[in-house]
Amino acid sequence: MIRVSDGKIGGREFFAIIYSMMAIRITNSTPNLLLDSGITAAWMMPLLSAAFLLGPLLLLLPLLKKHNIGLVDLLYKLTGNAFGRLITLALFVAIFSSTSLNGRNYADIVTTMYYPETSVLLIMVVLILGASFYIAHRGLEAVSRTALLVVPVFMLTSVFLIISVASQLNYYYVFPIAGSGAGTILKDSVAYSAFYGDIILIGILYAYVRSHGAFRKAALWGLWVPAFKMAVFLAVYVMMFDYPAVQNIAFPYHHLTRMAMIGTVANHVEAVFLALWFIGASLHFAIYLYLSAFLLGKVINYREFEYLILPLAGIAVVLGMIPDNHLQGEQWRKLLLEVSSGLFLLLPVLLWVLDRFRKKAKP
């Protein structure tokens, strides 16, 4: 029977995967980076970053369709074995280090905002070695189905959160409209476009998706929906806290949930948002762990890459414990972002050029 056992992922599930990879960034310290550079115009930057990535994505899509293989195999095919392996390794380093750094970031948020007397290590372990490892170990199909179950809930809660703070917002605060100036915004949008670089990276799962149409649709929606959500939330942060206070708040999402009130019925509901956010976080890291293991498996030619998930989760926890505090990690994150932005923006272009070149060389 059972069409389901084909192990393929449908368009909606794939969108849910992309969404849980990207949209949750609004809750960690990503907004701080954007607000620092964009000030009141920070909300434009996600949209611009997404627009910058749209080009490479549109280059990549026909390539994937033509060769009908995943991004990694495409790399190997077009750039040759050695060079392809090198780029795959670079992708692995980018994604795995961001798993580890982000994991630390999330644990820091918990210990700063909610559980000041709990150790960062405990949170890291239960999050990454506990729930995320378990979810990733159930396989890609399970991850995608879980994502599809929870993503609509996350979307609804986002809307709900905005409604519950709406009365405290002042839309005048987003002015001056250009914030730190058009030049800075454009430049930093490119530098931070790696926030959406996942959309290129997700090409490695191409072979697992049911059809090209499903992949394209999910990738396009998966690019603009999280970007739009991020833009809305950045605008809300500014409207809520106003410049310059908004730049001083370490984790604006969590302050926003504290300000949320459901009429006069309940006004301290942040723990509910905490729980939902943590479900999202465990899913987010599950996907990252799975992709890391997948890429590492390709690099070292190890077919049963699922066995790599556990050691990788352990290493992620250990690496995440290296920075003394979250601000130290922040510098590394910024560096990582800028480097991987370049990688994600240029990779599809490189592949496209190579493809053209080969086509010409062949006949």
Binding site: M113, Y114, P176, S180, F241, D242, A245, R258, H268
Partner: protein, 410 residues
């Protein structure tokens, strides 16, 4: 995978059982409902007063403890809030927590001191401190205010603050001030905080709202009065506004926060008497700031709806359109005059505005840097301000015309 799972399970269990420091039973915590901050005698020290709710008074029948006070009040002298919290632990067996803290009271003396902005600025670093906590400036030291505030009906202090906060929305005598708005306006903008006192010093005015806290002629009941506002600039108190000025300053904002308020005016039809009206907010005020010219020009248009609920002169307004127009005009003129006076006072004495006009001004600039270079607060002191109230009469109360007592008396 299954074999690995077992080992992993053991590791996880060990970690779990090593415990998480957060867990704390409810009865082992002391819930602070209000803190008072005062200047201590020694330089750079503050007195922190914690008002801690007693869970065994007036909460549930099963827990009722007779003869205990509803709240415990502890005052500690310390360099800052966090260390005071820790030092209070020396006498309290339960762990102090701010998770239900909704009110921060600040003695006027401390608010006027330079130390204040450091105290309040560092307080928010503590994640237990919530940005929606309301901020009240008290005329006397905050610890006296807390001690003297003994409302008869709301014996539990959190209920008192909760109800009174709801009440403010309908009077507008005090601004709605929480920590979040305070941190928004730490620069040259003026921030208005609730002004309150528990000391009576009654004065009698003809206008019903030109009082400051403590001046309201009230002879019995709880001594606490909350009226007017304290003006803070750069995190330091520089003056006060009375009830009427506070109301106006809220009306002149883009988003009017007062749901309804009652005010009285001299009756244009019969100057001897006053007429009381209820104002309802209808829509947002329109604010236009012109920064291209010098001095800058601010145009404000405040739309309001008015109900006539008390008419001492017993003049018939309902069927006389001429009189209605005169009334509207008189009210508008009076409000505009008062507003102009308020703006003048702010421009000359305080050099800033509490109306969030700076946000409207930001619209005129392309980048934040340009706006900061422009220096709105300096330009405001010289700006031409043009305030225009637009009032509609919504209803005349439940009588078609006043009772005919007047004619009968003749």
């Amino acid at each position: 995978m299954r074999r690995i799972g077992w080992k992993l399970g053991i590791v996880l269990a060990a970690l779990f059982l090593s415990g998480c420091g957060e867990r704390l039973e409810l009865e082992m915590q002391a819930f602070v409902v209000a803190i008072g901050l005062d200047k201590a005698e020694k330089e750079n020290l503050i007195e922190v007063t914690f008002q801690i709710s007693n869970p065994q008074v007036n909460t549930s029948q099963a827990a009722e403890a007779q003869k205990e006070p509803p709240a415990d009040i502890v005052t500690i002298t310390a360099p800052d809030l966090l260390s005071a919290k820790e030092m209070a632990q020396s006498s309290l067996p339960r762990k102090i927590t701010f998770s239900h803290l909704e009110t921060i009271l600040i003695g006027e003396e401390l608010a006027r001191d330079k130390l204040f902005k450091h105290i309040i600025g560092s307080a928010i670093i503590d994640p237990e401190m919530r940005r929606e906590a309301m901020m009240i400036v008290t005329k006397e030291p905050a610890k006296d205010f807390i001690k003297n505030n003994n409302p008869t009906m709301e014996t539990r202090p959190h209920k008192y603050y909760e109800f009174i906060r709801q009440n403010w929305k309908h009077t507008g005598y005090v601004p709605l001030s929480n920590l979040n708005t305070f941190y928004q306006r730490t620069d040259h903008e003026l921030f208005l905080a609730v002004y309150a006192t528990a000391q009576r010093d009654p004065e009698e005015h003809e206008n019903d709202d030109t009082y400051l806290a403590g001046q309201v002629p009230q002879s019995s009941g709880d001594p606490v009065q909350m009226m007017g506002s304290a003006i803070l600039r750069n995190g330091q108190m520089i003056g006060t506004l009375d009830g009427e000025e506070t109301r106006l300053s809220q009306l002149l904002r883009r988003k009017n926060l007062i749901e309804a308020m009652t005010a009285s005016f001299p009756d244009p039809a019969n100057e001897e008497y006053r007429i009381s009206v209820v104002f309802n907010r209808s829509e947002n005020s329109k604010i236009r700031v012109n920064t291209d010219r010098s001095p800058a020009k601010v145009e404000v248009m405040v739309p309001m709806k008015m109900r006539i609920n008390s008419n001492l002169s017993l003049e018939d307004y309902t069927r006389n359109e001429e009189r209605q127009k005169r009334l509207v005009k008189a009210v508008e003129e009076r409000l505009e005059k008062k507003s102009d006076e308020l703006v003048m006072k702010l421009q000359e004495e305080y050099g800033g505005e509490p109306f969030v006009w700076y946000a409207a001004t930001r619209k005129n600039f392309w980048t934040m840097k340009q706006f900061e270079d422009y220096g709105w607060s300096e330009h405001f002191t010289e700006a031409d301000v043009d305030i225009d109230f637009e009032i509609e009469i919504e209803s005349f109360g439940e009588q078609i015309r006043p009772p005919s007592l007047k004619q009968g008396g003749k």
